[in-house]
């Protein structure tokens, strides 16, 4: 199992900014004399991986455990991502 937990979308401290993982990777690459590109893409990738399977899979398992039918997990994931992208100050 990947580890299914409920999540607070703000955990991680990178909404609207660069994640700690992105920053650390960039620092490591540059310190080693390498070239780092596409920071926004990496930030998005990490965010997607960190959110993947947490809420949607939990929801899926809860529905199935209750005898329900779960469809279109990708749409659920998209909706979750869209919600996570909304900044609330």
């Amino acid at each position: 199992m990947l580890g299914i937990t409920t999540t607070n979308a703000r955990v991680g401290g990178f909404r609207g900014g660069v994640s700690a993982q992105t920053a650390a990777f960039r620092t490591r690459v540059i310190a080693d004399g390498g070239t780092f590109e596409a920071i926004t893409c990496l930030n998005s990738t990490i965010k997607q991986l960190q959110s993947l399977n947490q809420i949607a899979t939990t929801f899926n398992l809860l529905v199935l455990a209750d005898g329900g039918t779960f469809e279109q997990i990708n749409c659920v994931q998209t909706n979750i991502t869209n919600l996570q992208n909304i900044n609330i100050n």
Binding site: M1, L2, G3, I4, T5, T7, Q21, A24, F25, R26, R28, V29, D32, G33, G34, T35, F36, E37, A38, I39, T40, C41, L42, S44, T45, I46, L49, Q50, S51, L52, N53, Q54, A56, T57, N60, L61, I73, N74, Q77
Partner: protein, 323 residues
């Protein structure tokens, strides 16, 4: 426990590189960074959409037209036999008879073929257009017209157009990209996820995506087949054991593929669908090789992610991962 990022043992993304190295996002200590070699220069399309030269042994991040996120560009060896390829002029190219060639144009212009093969190729942008032909003699007349701006013309063997190879007065060969890395060996199960794009087309040769191994030899090889399926050939210490093949075809774009192995059963997922399973015992890898150290000329690949988990994730998780 955490999420997909936290639980991955290895994550390779298209972001960090230098000569002879591709940086893995995880593990963060650099212990699974990939070594990389290519004993020649090569071209990539940069973030501005312009083809630019990359030095020997430097991996290539290739950007899509119109912007967006890059991908690793891994290609087989190829030779451009069209002379002065970035200042194209009409010429007769000596080719082998009864041989498959691909002619391509990047940029704006028209290429008209006569002699050993016929056809018209119209280029409209830096992505280019191509035509694959089988020659019927040894002289291919390549007529160029309507050129505008920077244009590259290429004539190469095989059924796939590869990235531009700049020539002057003689043919030039771009050598193979060769990325290879290590992973933590799990002896209970594992998952591999990748997101790749290859040329699609029935009748093309196998397009190899990755190969996994350990000190006892090959433990598996993953490819897109000649019938546009994705396949994983299971090996135990270099001996072929079984094969798992997708039901659905790969798509003409990026394909998300996951392979899980729980110690007794392999499962293959393609673009959010469980495609099949095979009960078999293969070996546990601790090394991987992304393409291209294979001889197949159809194997140019754009690769976004390569992820490895030291457990077999659940079907639900694999479906989510590949959706």
């Amino acid at each position: 426990m955490g999420n997909a990022y936290d639980n991955a043992s290895l994550i390779v993304t298209p972001n960090g590189y230098k000569a002879s190295k591709i940086y893995a996002l995880k593990p963060t200590d650099g212990s699974s960074d990939l070594s990389f070699s290519r004993a020649s220069t090569a071209l990539r399309r940069n973030s501005s959409g312009v083809w630019e030269s990359v030095a020997s042994n430097v991996p290539r991040l290739n950007y899509p037209i119109g912007g967006g996120c890059p991908s690793w560009l891994f290609e087989p060896q190829a030779t451009n036999i069209f002379l002065n390829s970035n200042a194209p002029a009409t010429q007769a190219v000596t080719v082998a008879n009864a041989t498959v060639y691909t002619i391509s144009i990047r940029g704006i212009g028209v290429v008209t073929l006569s002699g050993a093969a016929t056809g018209v190729i119209t280029g409209t942008n830096s992505e280019g257009s191509s035509l694959t032909v089988t020659t019927s003699s040894t002289s291919l007349i390549v007529t160029v017209s309507g050129l505008s701006g920077t244009v590259y013309v290429q004539v190469e063997t095989g059924s796939a157009a590869t990235s531009p190879i700049i020539t002057a007065g003689s043919a030039v060969t771009r050598l193979v990209d060769f990325p290879i890395g290590t992973m933590v060996q799990s002896t209970t199960g594992y998952t591999i996820f990748t997101n790749v794009k290859t040329l699609t087309g029935i009748g093309l040769g196998d397009r190899y995506v990755f190969d996994i191994s350990n000190s006892s030899g090959r433990q598996g090889i993953f490819n897109f087949s000649q019938t546009n399926k994705c396949e994983f050939a299971i090996y135990l210490n270099s001996t072929f054991v079984n094969r798992i093949t997708s039901i659905n075809n790969i798509i003409n774009g990026f394909n998300k593929v996951a392979l899980t192995f729980n110690g007794s059963t392999y499962k293959l997922f393609l673009n959010g669908v469980l495609e099949g399973s095979v009960n078999a015992i293969g070996g546990y890898p601790n090394a991987y090789q992304l393409p291209q150290n294979f001889s197949d000329p159809n194997g140019n690949i754009l690769q976004n992610y390569f992820e490895y988990y030291t457990t077999a994730i659940s079907d639900t998780e694999a479906i989510a991962l590949t959706t």
